[in-house]
Structures are given as structure tokens and as C-alpha cells.
């Protein structure tokens, strides 16, 4: 299959995503500069919107990237069922673009948090999580200043009822409580998907834990799940 990794000015996790998709997972992978709109995205099986500080996080994280030329193509691609996963700044950009509900606000305690956290897998029936099991607890790093997921009550209720919550911050034993919520996210939400299940977003970085040499491969199943979809 073929992955496309979007690159905005200020993206800095594009290389890690490219490395995992191409060199670790052995899949055809290409960078897509944010101004490229001519070719369209139909040649890709999955688009990755990577982390970083697109446009310096000016105005709001992802707020300006959301209007980059390539976003129109991504929206069209997603609306016709294409698979898109946004990681960290990518997740922020997808919420700004309306491809995912809610918004990511400044962390509750105001500090940039850079550490491993435990996530409980809530839904393993999506193209992005099928290689995990429901209830599984995984360890994945976060590195963000604005990861506090917010949505109004009705949206949160829908997310839960439609099983759109993919990952929640938890203890190493799967206890999803306030104590293990690093940034104040509503319902400890760390990752979600849209109603159709083809667009996902997560604040933690699976591309930073997909290689044995780095000591943690808990994130690899995100990529395995996507690849399995196209086998």
C-alpha cells in the first residue's frame, strides 16, 4: 500500500512517520508538500498528517495549516472515504478542518508535557486499531502543550455512543481516572475517529514507538492495523 505524509512549514514529525511507514513497515511512502494540489491524493491508501508546529502554532495549533492548499484535497479525500490519521499537530489540524469533532485546548496545567503515558484501547474495530484488543493498555509518548481535548456535552455523548473514542489516558492497569489525565482532556480522551471511521486523530505519538531498537513498539499496531486493511 502507499502512505502519504503531509508536510506543512513547521511540521517536524514527518520524518519519523515516513521512516516507520517506509523503512520499518516496508510500505511505499511519499512526502506531500502542503502546496501540492495538482496530482490529487487518489494514489495514496492512507494519508498521515504528522506532528510538529505547523506555522509555528500561530493563532492556534493547526488553525493556519487548516487553510493550506493541500487541506482541500485532504478534505475531499476523506469525504470520499480515504483513510486519514492525524498525529498530535495533525490531530489539531483535523479538528480545525472539521474532519474530526471537538478541539484541542491549552493543557490544563499550562505546561508542555513530554513523557510516556499509558493509554487504554477503547475500540479495536477501526482500521487504525484493529491490531489492538479492547481494554489493552499501551505505553506511548506524548509531547504537547495543547492536548486538552474539548467538545460540548452532546458531542461527547455521541462520541461515546458511536464508539468513536479510540484511546483514553489511563494508569498502567487501565484505570481511566483524573489522576492519569495529563492534560485535562474531557473523558481522558487521547484519540478519536469520525463517525464513518475513516479519519482518526490522536495526541500521542505512535511513530515514536514502532521500532524495537527504540525500546518500545506499542505504537506499531496503529501502522499494522492500517496495513492489514489493504492486504
Amino acid at each position: 500500500m502507499r502512505f502519504g505524509v503531509i508536510v506543512f512549514p513547521g511540521s517536524n514529525c514527518d520524518h519519523d512517520c515516513y521512516h516507520v511507514a517506509k523503512h520499518v513497515m516496508g510500505q511505499d511512502t511519499e512526502y506531500i508538500w502542503h502546496k501540492e494540489t495538482e496530482a490529487g491524493l487518489s494514489r495514496y491508501d492512507c494519508i498521515i498528517v504528522p506532528g510538529g508546529f505547523s506555522y509555528g502554532d500561530y493563532l492556534r495549533p493547526g488553525a493556519i495549516a487548516r487553510f493550506s492548499p493541500v487541506m482541500r484535497s485532504i478534505i475531499e479525500y476523506a469525504n470520499s472515504g480515504g483513510y486519514v490519521i492525524g498525529i498530535c499537530n495533525g490531530f489539531q489540524t483535523l479538528t480545525e478542518a472539521g474532519l474530526l469533532p471537538g478541539a484541542l485546548m491549552r493543557n490544563r496545567d499550562l505546561m508542555f508535557i513530554c513523557k510516556d503515558v499509558y493509554l487504554k484501547v477503547e475500540n479495536s474495530f477501526t482500521p487504525f486499531t484493529s491490531e489492538y484488543t479492547v481494554g489493552e493498555v499501551i505505553r506511548i509518548p506524548i509531547a504537547h502543550h495543547d492536548g486538552n481535548y474539548f467538545a460540548d456535552d452532546e458531542t461527547l455523548k455521541n462520541l461515546e455512543e458511536n464508539k468513536q473514542i479510540l484511546f483514553r489516558y489511563a494508569s498502567h492497569t487501565g484505570d481511566v481516572s483524573d489522576e492519569f489525565n495529563p492534560n485535562g482532556s474531557a473523558m481522558n480522551i487521547a484519540g478519536i475517529c469520525n463517525e464513518a471511521g475513516n479519519v482518526a486523530g490522536m495526541m500521542p505519538h505512535p511513530e515514536r514507538c514502532s521500532e524495537k531498537a527504540l525500546g518500545n513498539i506499542d505504537g506499531k499496531s496503529v501502522f499494522n492495523s492500517i496495513i492489514k486493511k489493504f492486504k
Binding site: 493556519i64 496545567d109 499550562l110 474539548f150
Partner: protein, 80 residues
């Protein structure tokens, strides 16, 4: 032709930056403030030849489209 757009967090949404400012007010001796909410002010200077009414409408559209994330923020347009 200047138009001001104020962007603030919706009521009820946690504003940790406002809270941090509030705490520092107390510690520097200003005890009379009950709450602080922090927002943004954008000053848009329109090109000549646009009426106040149109400028106000355009500013509102700009605010709704990009200056404010309407999931979590409100905006107010003030035409000078």
C-alpha cells in the same frame, strides 16, 4: 477603517491562563478581582472604500472562519 475583533473562550470552559493571572493578582496585592478570563484582540484595518456596515460583516465572517475556533470560542466585532 478599523474593526476590532475580540475572541474569548466560551463561558464554562476552563481557562487555566486566566486562572494563573488571577492567582498572580492576589499575590501582588490586588484582592478585589473575582475572576480573570484571558482572550485575544485582533485589529483589522480594512482598505479604503469599504463602508462600516460591510467592514463589520466581513470582520464577522473572518472571525467565524479563522480568528475564532467556534467549538470553544466566542467573538465580538466592534467597528470604530
Amino acid at each position: 477603517m478599523k474593526v476590532k475583533v475580540y475572541v474569548t473562550l466560551k463561558n464554562g470552559i476552563l481557562d487555566p491562563q486566566g486562572k494563573a493571572v488571577h492567582h498572580s493578582l492576589e499575590s501582588i496585592g490586588f484582592a478585589d478581582v473575582k475572576e480573570v478570563r484571558q482572550g485575544k484582540l485582533f485589529e483589522l484595518t480594512f482598505k479604503d472604500g469599504i463602508s462600516k456596515k460591510i467592514a463589520g460583516q466581513k470582520a464577522a465572517k473572518i472571525a467565524e472562519t479563522i480568528l475564532a475556533n467556534t467549538v470553544m470560542e466566542n467573538f465580538k466585532v466592534v467597528v470604530e
